[in-house]
């Protein structure tokens, strides 16, 4: 490495002088500005979580929520790993009777489901919630209460899922629960209800965390961290956040439809009544394949952070990697059919999806080559995180190659449902996700708890896992090619499978021992580990500029970013445009008694707003418990308990959003706002809340689109529509009901305008008028449905009509509920020209409702006349 350094420069200045060089490990790296002790104490108190018992229920800080998500998901990982070992013992020799077929079916279902729903995604989301605020140079995530809600729903959902063992009704239809095997006819009882409802809760949790991650990345980045300077991990999480919304929502809808088939006799997946089991496969895999990339992208993002640090080389091809991540995110949604090549689909469909499946190797390859080039041009430091990173590269590339193989239709037909696919998916998921997660834990743990993990134990851990993994899974390729099917609890001797299965089992136990070494290392290092200091690895990103472990407030003086690698290229984190400098310095001195967070613009990260992020509260906990109660009660059809849950849910949401008094004076706010020419919003952010509302609308839109595409999918397979001589829908009442929907949005926007002019009475009148319009729409639609001559059990058309109609009712209820809350607060005089976000969000929701209404009515009521 060469620089233009001169002898009178400080080490940091010397390295900062070059745009390409990397400072040595022992260089003096810039640190976050430290406030005066009095201010620091006050900030620490303002950001502290409650102590004692209330900490358990109320803790809201990103490190508490993220850490809990990671620990809980790791516990699920251990349980699912133990299940894998049991299965490997069973398969170690032919005709083994260690496990019965039923137990084995339950084990592979629980293992796969736990790893996919309860380990990988929550672990990666937990890590993001924990680390993102430090990486993007802000103090907190935008919706801390949503984070708590996400964690509680996830943890209780996971416990609910595993409680199926307590009543000895374990789900046993695989992690994909294909219909009709999972339907009421072939899976009676409640085992599959556990799978659908308990995991449904975990899916809601994933979406909640996804919303938080997106808004944080788009709106809470440190000043100066423009789109071109975002750390690659953060890019990966942005793509992942959107992928979660687009992937998990169809799965929730699919799960809902299957549960309705099981519970109330709808016919979505019953071919005998016009439904389609293949529809379930579409709905599942449109989630299932992006799910792989939802796990892989954060993992590759972690690699993009770790590899440059240990190669002592800046990432090669930053824009290429960022673009490749975005392209991977899009492409991942167009591959799902490659899981269904053997179903019997049209030729062009096979061709399109085969091509897309193989083409995704290009953006993935771009990322891998960038990492290899970074190592190649660097001087690797072989610490444990780097070993796991190299393990990732080797293993994932092998898994990717077999991925291209099964992306080819003829090969897929040969390998489908064989152990070859088991080997492929574990190469991708353990190599591409688990290795990076361990790399990340070794890398970031010093930041999280201030202690370095032990290197010697870490290397033992790596080599046991790496060798064990390949010993375990490489032979499974051969087993698959030799015809051993997956999901069989035993096999006869004499097929040549015996030895490979035994080797595979030995490898699995090596992995288990490796994980055990990690657990020992974790606890040993937490107690006896070396203190890390702020930047033990000589890393380049913002999280390494704060204390280890970080203070409650993270950054007192928010950093100003002027480079992609701020700690490698900047002398300090405080220089920048004068206005920004003054702002971040003053923000360290005021406010000190409430949790202030800076909102910045999405493209340039220019300061836009200061708002108070919500504090500890019992309501997210109550809301989450209520939601899980509803789902849990529904498994056993305990409707009164479910009703109690609904009551708790509504109460929780109301309490959660209850307006709180601002812990500041208007004079103070105005003085700060005027001095820095920036809005101060101690009642909550307009920008962040509006972003949350748009994402909520997006989720509802995705859900509705999924339902409508299901409608057309089933319609395409039916000759006469509506089938069985059912009458065409009548247009009269919904036609009339359309008018108040259109009018309502206009009235609400008018009311909002009046509020901006401080006309409180007009606001109240507008909201009241809107409420009447909304209720009349609801009443008209109710009347129309009361006139229907068929119900949801008659056939798939009836099911679709009622369920899509039911979704429309749900949307109306959400909108009416919002209006009621806003109206109640409007009558209390809470809103003002400066404080209007809830009213604005209600108006935005009802504007979106026009689109929801028109499209749904168009499909349900009008399309049968023409199509």
């Amino acid at each position: 490495m060469t620089t233009n350094a001169t002898s009178d420069q400080t080490p940091q200045k010397r390295w900062a002088a070059s745009e390409t060089a990397v400072p040595p490990l022992n260089a003096a790296y810039p640190e976050a500005d430290t406030p005066d002790p009095a201010a620091a104490d006050k900030l620490e108190n303002a950001w502290a979580d409650p102590k004692g018992f209330w900490y358990l229920l109320n803790a809201i800080q990103n490190d508490a929520v993220g850490g809990r998500l990671m620990l809980t998901s790791f516990a699920f990982f251990l349980i699912a790993g133990a299940m894998a070992l049991l299965m490997r013992v069973q398969l170690a020799q032919p005709e083994s009777d260690f496990l019965s077929a039923d137990v084995y079916n339950g084990l592979f279902t629980m293992h796969g489901s736990t790893m996919m729903y309860l380990f990988a995604v929550p672990m990666l989301e937990g890590f993001a919630i924990l680390m993102l605020p430090f990486m993007i140079g802000n103090r907190e995530m935008p919706f801390p209460r949503l984070g708590v809600f996400s964690y509680i729903t996830f943890a209780l959902g996971g416990l609910l899922f595993f409680s199926s063992y307590l009543v000895n009704t374990v789900p046993d239809a695989g992690w994909f629960a294909y219909a009709p095997l999972s339907g009421p006819e072939y899976s009676p009882g409640i085992a599959l209800d556990y799978w659908l409802l308990a995991l449904g809760v975990a899916e809601v949790a994933a979406i909640a965390a996804g919303i938080e991650i997106i808004i944080a990345i788009l709106r809470l980045r440190a000043p100066g961290m423009s789109l071109a300077r975002i750390p690659l991990y953060v890019w990966a999480m942005l793509v992942t956040g959107f992928s979660i919304l687009f992937a998990f929502t169809p799965l929730i809808i699919g799960s809902l439809l299957l549960e309705l088939d099981r519970k109330i006799g709808t016919q979505f997946f019953n071919a005998g009544a016009g439904g389609s089991p293949v529809l379930w496969q579409h709905l599942f895999w449109i989630f299932g394949h992006p799910e792989v990339y939802i796990q892989f992208l954060p993992a590759t993002g972690m690699m993009a952070m770790i590899i440059p640090v240990f190669s002592r080389q800046r990432i090669q091809g930053y824009p290429f990697v960022a673009i490749a991540m975005v392209a991977t995110g899009f492409l991942s949604f167009l591959l799902w059919v490659h899981h269904m090549f053997s179903v019997g689909l049209p030729q062009i469909t096979l061709g399109l999806f085969s091509a897309a499946s193989i083409l995704i190797a290009i953006p993935t390859g771009v990322q891998i080559f960038a990492y290899i080039a970074t190592i190649f041009n660097g001087r690797p430091v072989w610490k444990t995180p780097f070993l796991f990173a190299v393990g990732f590269l080797v293993t994932f590339v092998l898994g990717g190659i077999t991925g291209v193989m099964v992306g080819s239709v003829p090969f897929d037909w040969q390998a489908h449902d064989s152990f070859f696919v088991v080997a492929h998916l574990h190469y991708v998921l353990i190599g591409g996700v688990v290795f990076p997660i361990f790399a990340a834990i070794y890398y970031w743990m010093p930041k999280i708890n201030g202690k370095l993990l032990d290197e010697r134990l870490g290397k033992w851990h790596f080599w046991l896992m790496f060798i064990g993994f390949h010993v375990s899974f490489f032979p499974q390729h051969i087993l698959g090619l030799w015809g051993m099917p997956r999901r069989v609890y035993t096999y006869p001797p004499g097929f040549g499978w015996d030895l490979y299965n035994l080797i595979s089992t030995i490898g699995a136990f090596m992995i288990g021992i490796g994980v055990a070494v990690f657990i020992v290392n974790f606890f040993y290092s937490a107690r006896y580990g070396r203190h890390a200091g702020k930047n033990p690895w000589g890393a380049s990103e913002l999280e390494w500029s704060v204390d280890s472990p970080p203070k409650n407030y993270g950054f007192s003086v928010l950093p100003i970013v002027r480079s992609r690698h701020p700690l490698w290229s900047q002398d300090n984190l405080t220089d920048g445009p004068e206005r920004t400098q003054n702002l971040v310095q003053d923000l360290a001195r005021w406010p000190l008694n409430w949790r202030a967070v800076l909102v910045t613009s999405a493209l340039d990260a220019k300061p836009e707003e200061i708002f108070r992020v919500s504090g500890p509260s019992i309501w997210p906990f109550l809301t989450a418990v209520s939601l899980v109660t509803i789902f849990g009660a529904e498994i056993f059809e305990l409707r009164p308990v479910a009703l109690l849950g609904i009551f708790g849910l509504v109460t929780g949401i109301v309490g959660w959003n209850w307006p709180e008094d601002a812990p500041t004076t208007t004079e103070e706010e105005e003085a700060f706002a005027q001095k820095h020419n920036i809005p101060v919003r101690p009642h909550g952010s307009r920008t962040v809340n509006r972003g949350g509302m748009w994402l909520f609308i997006l989720i509802l839109g995705i859900a509705l689109t999924t339902l409508l595409l299901s409608y057309f999918y089933i319609r395409l397979e039916t000759h006469i529509w509506p089938p069985q001589n059912l009458p065409l829908p009548t247009l009269t009442w919904v036609g009339i009901a359309t008018l108040p929907v259109l009018l309502n949005a206009a009235v609400l926007h008018w009311a909002l305008r009046q509020l901006r002019k401080a006309k409180q009475r007009c606001l109240r009148a507008g909201l009241a008028a809107a409420f009447l319009l909304e209720v009349s729409t609801f009443a008209l639609l109710t009347y129309d449905f009361s006139q229907l001559t068929f119900d949801w059990r008659i056939n798939a058309y009836g099911s679709l009509f009622w369920v899509i109609g039911g979704f429309l009712f749900l949307l109306l209820l959400i909108g009416i509920g919002m209006n009621i809350f806003v109206q109640a607060w409007a009558w209390r005089g809470i809103y003002s020209p400066e404080r209007f976000t809830p009213v604005e969000n209600t108006a935005v929701f009802w504007t979106a409702m026009i689109a929801f209404w028109v499209v749904t009515i168009g499909v349900l009521y009008i399309s049968p006349y023409r199509f």
Partner: protein, 130 residues
């Protein structure tokens, strides 16, 4: 206090478009072609539109692909222009860096998805529906 963005907001929107239009349009065109293909294979549905021949849908698919080609190539062109302009801008280094990145990203996205559209066109021409 409100922050009015006006023209700046439009410019920002342009940047987002340059960054994301290619994958969005490609995803849409892929989805439409897939759905069209599923639909055309159920001829009873299409007979209402007097499309008795499954291959009749191929020109429609090609038209969609042509439009996608147009968008992705235009995206690559505008990305290249933005990249060039940002490279020669001298006043605001941070803004120039941002636009260089977005321009390069748009250009590469455009080129990549143009190539993918080419792949789809070959598939559509090569294989018969159903």
């Amino acid at each position: 206090m409100t922050v009015s963005l006006g023209n700046e907001q439009k410019t920002h929107l342009k940047r987002w478009i340059v960054l994301l239009i290619s994958p969005v349009v490609w995803t849409l065109s892929f989805g439409i072609i897939y759905l069209l293909n599923e639909a055309v294979c159920n001829l009873h549905f299409w007979r209402r539109f007097v499309w008795n021949d499954v291959t009749a849908v191929i020109p429609v698919m090609l038209l969609i692909l042509l439009l996608t080609f147009g968008v992705t190539i235009a995206n690559a062109w505008f990305g290249w222009k933005m990249w060039q302009q940002a490279s020669s801008a001298a006043n605001d280094e941070a803004a120039a860096e941002r636009d260089r990145f977005i321009g390069a990203a748009g250009m590469m996205m455009g080129l990549f998805f143009t190539a993918l559209t080419g792949g789809l066109t070959v598939v559509v021409l090569w294989l018969q529906p159903c």
